[in-house]
């Protein structure tokens, strides 16, 4: 007995846990563990009612430690730290035990085994909690400045938005000009507004705003510091290379996308008259009247959809994702063609699923009214594009909408409706430690609820660098990144986890093994009474623990997960339940 007073709450999670783990049995077994003064099961431990129950128990039972056995700590660590705080328990004397993802869901076929495992996991959590010390968060003042990487429409709007909420902004653009892709566009869906004009308007506002400093021809070279206070070095290429270091509290990445470049021969790419969607868009935007190609009027256009998107898993390096924007973009381009010519231009659209989602459906409806003809192509039989003897092009396919009929379309122009692909950005990725998803786009921390945040605190992603988006959607996510920045920087300070490494300087012999192991550059050598020892930069340390096992003298320990705690947890896992 350590004299601790620990409360243990085991969650049913509706049926998510309770259907497989006998939660009441777990509670009945562990309620006799030393130092456990309250043990309960709950239908939803995260619910407000149970939270209040915990607070009440803590007050009545004078709890000084809390164990919640429910789902992954990724979901609810902050929920229950907050509960602990309200309950008067130090938030770092609470342990989250995962009996869902790592127990009930993985052992749906073995209820008894799952119950036994849950019991051991909970016991391990109790053992860890018993050895917790009260910790206080590391409070750092934050820098009310942001860095925006990328000067396309998302980056421009984000820069302006950041300035509008009172933050200073540095905008870094690799190209000599601001504006990105949208600067090259004419009318865009859904409101027909001119892309170049929109960007020009934004650029004017950005340049006029005294809180925004714009660097074109510039790149991010390095980043140091920690959450809320990053130092970023920017290289500005000009007549001579200049490097500038700025202090920022957050970084908004808006580096955009590349367009898919079909391989030679892919859907006839390379044949004269076979163009990609961006090439076509340029032609349409650039023509005042009826569309011409090589000086000849374009009378028939065939659009082949999903080029470079929704590719089979079997295609080497294929893009299995849907590029989202291209269906509507192609439909919109067809409408533009129809608007600039009479309706005699024949437009054939060879699609798989027409993904004019939401209100964009209206554009599709309108395009059909304006003469576009849509043919549904079998998923597994891509259309064939070839040059015919007369000099024109021919697209052959089967149309499922007319009973699978073979159709050969002679066309003056074939538009390959190409999607978006992730941009190569290796240097930026390595400097900012940006996570990349399996589709090659930057990865958010949670695709549902935290779509602009990354696992790197204070680094946000927006626009098409996160996933394909149209212009308005990119602007929306740019503003969402503004909001995230504001949420951490407007307060003026941030609280960091105190679960960081600590060095026993008596034992340390400065062998620099910990320095080598640290992925966050959080170890530095300091002099203590004439002796070189390791020291942890607490604001940089992420608490990953990588330095702990490599220390030959056991001089490093991790607050919150000390060696003693980990050993106690192992003991808890191994202890045999007698029941």
């Amino acid at each position: 007995m350590s004299g601790r007073r620990i409360g243990v709450y085991v969650c049913q999670c509706g049926g998510n846990i309770g259907d497989y783990v006998d939660v009441d049995k777990v509670v009945a077994t562990i309620e006799h563990e030393p130092d456990v003064v309250v043990a309960r099961s709950a239908m939803f431990t995260c619910s407000d009612a149970t939270q209040q129950e915990i607070v009440q128990d803590a007050e009545e039972q004078k709890l000084d430690g809390l164990v919640v056995a429910s789902c992954s700590p990724k979901l609810h660590t902050y929920t229950f730290r907050d509960v602990a705080k309200r309950a008067g328990i130090n938030p770092f004397q609470y342990t989250q035990v995962n009996v869902r993802e790592q127990c009930s869901w993985t052992h749906t076929d073995d209820h008894e085994g799952a119950t036994e495992k849950a019991t051991r996991l909970v016991r391990a959590g109790i053992n860890r909690t018993r050895l917790t010390e009260p910790l206080e968060p590391i409070v750092v003042e934050t820098t009310p400045k942001s860095l925006v990487v990328g000067g396309g429409i998302a980056g421009l709007r984000a820069a302006l938005g950041l300035a509008e909420i009172g933050l200073s902004v540095f905008l870094v653009e690799k190209e000599p000009r601001l504006g990105g892709w949208v600067a090259s566009f004419g009318a865009m869906y859904p409101h027909g507004r001119n892309g170049a004009e929109l960007v020009a308007k934004l650029e004017e506002a950005v340049r006029a705003n005294p809180a925004i400093t714009v660097f074109t021809n510039a790149e991010v070279m390095s980043k140091s510091g920690s959450f809320g206070n990053y130092q970023v070095t920017i290289a500005v290429h000009g007549e001579r290379l200049e490097t500038i270091t700025v202090d920022v509290g957050s970084i908004v990445v808006a580096t955009g996308f590349e367009t898919y470049e079909p391989a030679a021969g892919e859907f006839g790419y390379g044949i004269d008259g076979v163009v990609t969607l961006p090439q076509f868009k340029k032609m349409v935007d650039g023509s005042a009247g009826p569309l011409t190609y090589n000086g000849r009027p374009v009378k028939t256009i065939a659009y082949v959809y999903c080029v470079g998107s929704r590719q089979s898993k079997d295609v080497e390096g294929g893009h299995t994702y849907c590029s989202r924007y291209c269906c509507t973009a192609a439909v919109h381009a067809a409408l533009e063609v129809a608007a600039k010519a009479d309706l005699s231009v024949r437009q054939y659209h060879l699609y798989r699923d027409m993904r004019t989602y939401g209100k964009y459906e209206l554009l599709w409806n309108e395009s059909r009214e304006k003469g576009s003809l849509y043919l549904r192509v079998p998923d597994d039989e891509p259309p064939a594009v070839e040059k015919i003897a007369s000099g024109g092009l021919k697209v052959t396919t089967r149309d499922l909408l007319t009973g699978g009929e073979e159709v050969a379309i002679p066309a003056d122009l074939v538009v390959l409706v190409t999607g978006m692909v992730p941009r190569e950005n290796d240097e930026l990725v390595s400097v900012l430690k940006l996570p990349i998803g399996i589709d090659g786009f930057f990865n958010e921390i949670h695709p549902k609820l935290r779509p602009v945040e990354t696992i790197v605190d204070g680094v946000y992603i927006c626009g098409a660098c996160q996933s394909p988006k149209n212009s308005a959607e990119s602007v929306t996510s740019g503003l969402a990144a503004v909001t995230q920045s504001g949420a951490i920087l407007k307060r003026g300070f941030a609280e960091l986890d105190p679960m960081v490494a600590m060095v026993d300087t008596d034992a340390c012999t400065w062998c620099d093994k910990c320095l080598e192991a640290c992925p966050y550059a959080a170890i530095e050598q300091v002099d203590e009474d004439g002796k070189a020892v390791a020291s942890v930069i607490r604001t940089a340390c992420k608490g990953c623990g990588g330095c702990v096992p490599v220390c030959p003298t056991d001089a490093v320990d991790l607050q919150g997960y000390t060696d003693a705690q980990v050993k106690a947890m192992i003991d808890g896992l191994l202890e045999v339940t007698c029941s």
């Binding site: 938005g161 699978g404 602007v475």
Partner: protein, 899 residues
């Protein structure tokens, strides 16, 4: 109240908006019309494409919203209006709807829910199961506080002059809680048994079920609970309250006096009733014949009053009311009724053999010998008392009973059913005849009658006119005159009205002498028992206030919600089961010979059948079971709504969307075929808080093994005036496909679709995954659904990928992937036309390309699906955009107004 931002709606867009504004340091007010934050997401099973449990990722946001130091949340509140303050900000008027539960006291223990006697469809489970009128919407609600749903006062309650809660005791009978039902009536009056027999039941006249096959037998249900209680040997004793040391005298032991005494005694007063007659009960005991109201029933009712400690002095006439004060009574209630017979004032009225009905009935009721054997009896009068007298005479062996009424049959004050019953018992009714004079020397031996052409003058006063040319003679040995009753108040020394009723404030029932109150027929003139009971309650309430020195606030007595509209009640459901009308229970005999009750008791089966017909008009039945059950004393039936004014710097509209009502596509059979459900219903079936704890088809509980999805139900469909794509339905269906294949590994899933629109990050991969798991995707729009005998469903569709022929397929469960409709409520928050909507009634975005989320009104932003349907990540992003601009708006305002 002053806030930087008002967020309307607390779905995912509203919560995200509030949390981020709060994190930035702005003060935020969130107004949510439901009783919990969380919107629709918290009701879902899992979310695509991550298959995260929706509640697991919603609850942290819900709790964070409620506990955020910069956020105040009003749940169960509605924004009624928002108007510009002319200075960049807005005024908002918010109505806090009454929960009828004290939020601070409620612990969310659900005892009220378990005790509640009313079940209504559970909208949080898409109507698949029921919930209680007192309820906590779903297990994860934030805040976890109960709500009592009250649509208004049920018509039966509203129409009861006594203030009894018929809906309440009917609902308790339905639940088998006969004792509680009895106790609920006792809260109003001790006369449960008497009212259960002799009340004219105005509640039944207004019963909404009357619009269907007929009203509930509300009165007989009351008799049923009284019979059940009085028939018990182990009936619980009446609880005596702590005496409060004050004394009240009640003069008269009729319905008003007994009720007042009961109510006062329950509050701890020492009450003494003075009754002139040998038996207590007033008209109940002295006038209403035993075949309608047996003496032992009245005795049982009176015993309630004596059991609580009220002393009743019978054979004690009080003439000097003022003198009672010297007897130590702090207040006096005069409730002496109307026991003086009105005379006909025709020649011969003083002959032997002419009796007043009151004397006649009283003699019979008190057991005196009244022998009418072989005698011919004429009863004069057309009211209830006349009928009672005639039928009583019949039972006493009269050779014949004639009844003469001035009014013609339709105009007679007696109830139609009474007239019918009198006729059935062989009474000869002469309606439209008035007595000219009685004939006879010493004893009456007949009457001369003339035709009455008009009873009342144009002012409505009693002023009969006769056609003297039409006359008739009747021979009889006995005449009973029932020409009306009046108050006998001459001796009291109190102020009276012209008709001798006592003068008092009609609301407070207080006389010119402050400590003297009056109630019942002696104030109102002859009325119904229930009216007298209501008077007694009112007097007791006022006397209590008077003796506590409180103002006699007329408004505070029985303050009720407005009565519900019957049309609304009937409109709540499309179909009501029409049942067989209930049979009248009176067993009539052509020649009754005894005073046994004509109406038999209700069997338990009949009572349950009758009670089960209740439509729960007001939703809450006011049965008060929750009041008893609540350990925290948190139920507050008198809670009022509250108007709250807030000054806000900016507004974020996060009012979300509505789901397409699936029955608007009748060819798919939703609402007609039980095994056709909506996507939301399937999500509930799959959720961790699922209503059946399994995926079952609702029709018969069978585990489905061949499930069809009909995509684009209500979307991309001009026939329902929605050409828009609803965006979320493809993905939620694909998600459900995967969950079904997990829950029911043997089930086949077929999706009938036009295009699968898997356009978000990871969505197409998620769709391919569902295909890989075995979901069958069939391109083709379904034209119609028919039902087979076993509840299966046959879908007719165009099989596009296989030649396009029209094909049929049978499934055992059909899920309609219903789309989305705008929530036009947002528009109503502003003055007419002020907030611009788009062509499809979503909140318009003035500049979607550069300022998404901005409306046409400066400082007013829209977040999430209110501006057009969005999935969860897009709602989060959109809320982020709205917040960034709201913050910019607030910062600009700060610069403008230097601190």
């Amino acid at each position: 109240m002053k806030y930087d931002a008002l967020v309307v709606g607390s779905g995912i867009g509203g919560m995200e908006s509030a949390l981020k504004l709060g994190d930035m340091g702005y003060k935020v007010l969130v107004v949510e019309k439901e009783s919990s934050v969380g919107g629709k997401m918290i009701l879902l099973s899992k979310v695509f494409p991550t298959l995260d449990c929706a509640s697991c990722i919603s609850t942290p946001k819900m709790a964070a919203t409620i506990h955020h130091p910069n956020i105040d949340v009003l749940t169960y509140a509605e924004v009624e209006g928002i108007r510009s303050d002319g200075n960049g900000g807005y005024h908002a008027t918010i109505r806090q709807k009454p929960r009828f539960v004290d939020e601070a006291a409620c612990t969310g223990c659900r005892q009220c829910e378990m005790a509640c006697s009313v079940a209504v469809p559970d909208e949080f489970n898409a109507g698949m199961v029921s919930r209680r009128a007192a309820y906590i919407a779903f297990p994860q609600v934030v805040p976890k506080k109960a709500v009592i749903e009250r649509a208004g006062v049920s018509p039966c309650i509203f129409n009861c002059p006594a203030g009894i809660k018929p809906h309440g005791y009917v609902a308790l009978v339905r639940s088998g809680e006969y004792d509680k039902a009895f106790d609920l009536v006792l809260e109003t009056t001790p006369l449960v048994g008497s009212l259960g027999r002799a009340c004219y039941a105005p509640c039944e006249d207004e019963c909404t079920r009357g619009e269907l096959e007929g009203p509930l037998p509300i009165r007989r249900l009351k008799r049923f609970i009284a019979d059940a209680r009085y028939g018990r040997d182990d009936a619980p004793p009446v609880e005596k309250p702590e005496p409060n040391g004050k004394k009240v005298a009640v003069v008269g032991s009729g319905p008003a006096g007994l009720t007042a005494a009961w109510q006062l005694a329950r509050k701890g007063y020492s009450v003494k009733i003075f009754e002139a007659a040998p038996k207590p009960g007033g008209m109940l005991r002295l006038a209403i014949p035993a075949y309608r109201l047996p003496n032992d029933v009245v005795d049982n009712d009176v015993a309630n009053v004596t059991a609580i400690g009220v002393e009743i002095a019978t054979d004690t006439r009080v003439d000097d009311i003022a003198a009672l004060k010297n007897g130590g009574f702090d207040a006096v209630l005069v409730a002496t009724g109307t026991h003086k017979a009105v005379q006909l004032r025709v020649p011969g009225e003083d002959l032997d053999g002419v009796h007043s009905a009151l004397d006649f009935l009283r003699a019979v009721k008190l057991g005196e010998t009244v022998d009418l054997a072989g005698k011919r009896v004429l009863v004069v009068g057309g009211g209830n008392v006349a009928i009672d007298a005639a039928r009583t005479a019949r039972r006493l062996g009269a050779a014949s009973v004639d009844q003469a009424s001035l009014e013609c049959c339709e105009e007679m004050p007696a109830h139609d059913f009474e007239v019918e019953e009198a006729r059935a018992e062989g009474i000869t009714l002469h309606d439209g005849w008035g007595i000219d004079h009685f004939t006879g020397e010493d004893r009456v031996h007949g009457a001369e009658l003339r035709v009455c052409t008009c009873v009342f003058n144009p002012e409505g006063r009693f002023h009969p006119e006769y056609d003297e040319s039409q006359r008739m003679s009747l021979e009889c040995e006995v005449v009973v005159v029932a020409a009306g009753m009046s108050a006998d108040t001459d001796a009291f020394g109190l102020e009276t009205n012209g008709n001798r009723t006592l003068r008092a404030d009609p609301d407070t029932l207080q006389t010119a002498a402050p400590h003297i109150f009056v109630a019942g027929d002696v104030v109102t003139g002859p009325t119904m028992i229930t009216t007298a009971v209501g008077q007694g309650r009112r007097a007791a309430f006022m006397i209590d206030r008077y003796l506590h020195g409180a103002e006699l606030d007329r408004a505070a007595f029985d303050e009720a919600l407005p009565v519900v509209d019957k049309g609304d009640v009937l409109g709540r459901q499309d179909v009501y089961d029409r049942r067989e009308p209930l049979e009248s229970a009176a067993a009539m005999s052509a020649a009754p010979t005894d005073f046994g009750e004509t109406e038999g008791p209700m069997s338990e089966v009949e009572a349950l059948d009758g009670a089960a017909r209740c439509l729960d008009c007001g939703v809450c039945s006011e049965c008060h079971a929750c009041l008893d059950a609540c350990p925290a004393d948190a139920i507050k039936f008198d809670m009022q709504g509250e108007e709250i004014e807030a000054e806000v710097g900016s507004v974020i509209l996060a009012t979300g969307f509505k789901l397409f009502p699936a029955d608007a596509k009748p060819q798919y059979g939703y609402g007609r075929f039980k095994n056709v459900i909506t996507g939301m219903q399937m999500d509930r079936l799959l959720a961790p808080t699922r209503p059946y704890n399994a995926v079952l088809r609702p029709g018969d509980g069978k585990v489905p093994d061949n499930i069809a999805y009909i995509m684009c139900t209500g979307s991309r469909d001009e026939t329902v005036e929605n050409p828009l794509c609803s965006r979320i339905c493809c993905m939620y269906s694909v998600k459900q496909n995967q969950l079904i294949m997990g829950a029911l590994p043997l089930a086949d899933v077929t999706v009938y679709y036009i295009d699968i629109r898997a356009v978000g990050k990871g969505y197409d991969e998620f769709y391919e995954q569902a295909r890989g798991m075995g979901a069958n995707f069939v391109k083709g729009r379904v034209s119609g659904v028919t039902e087979t005998d076993n509840g299966n469903l046959v879908l007719r569709y165009e099989d596009i990928e296989n030649g396009g022929s029209l094909t049929e397929a049978e499934h055992d469960l059909v899920v309609l992937a219903v789309g989305v409709q705008p929530n036009a409520d947002a528009q109503l928050l502003f003055a007419d036309g002020e907030l611009a909507l788009d062509d499809y009634y979503y909140v318009g975005e003035a500049d979607e390309d550069l300022n998404p989320g901005q409306t046409n009104l400066p400082g007013v932003f829209v977040a999430g699906s209110a501006s057009g349907v969005k999935d969860i990540p897009d709602s989060i992003l959109h809320a982020g955009a709205a917040v960034a601009q709201a913050a910019a708006h607030l910062e600009k305002a700060k610069v403008k107004v230097p601190a």
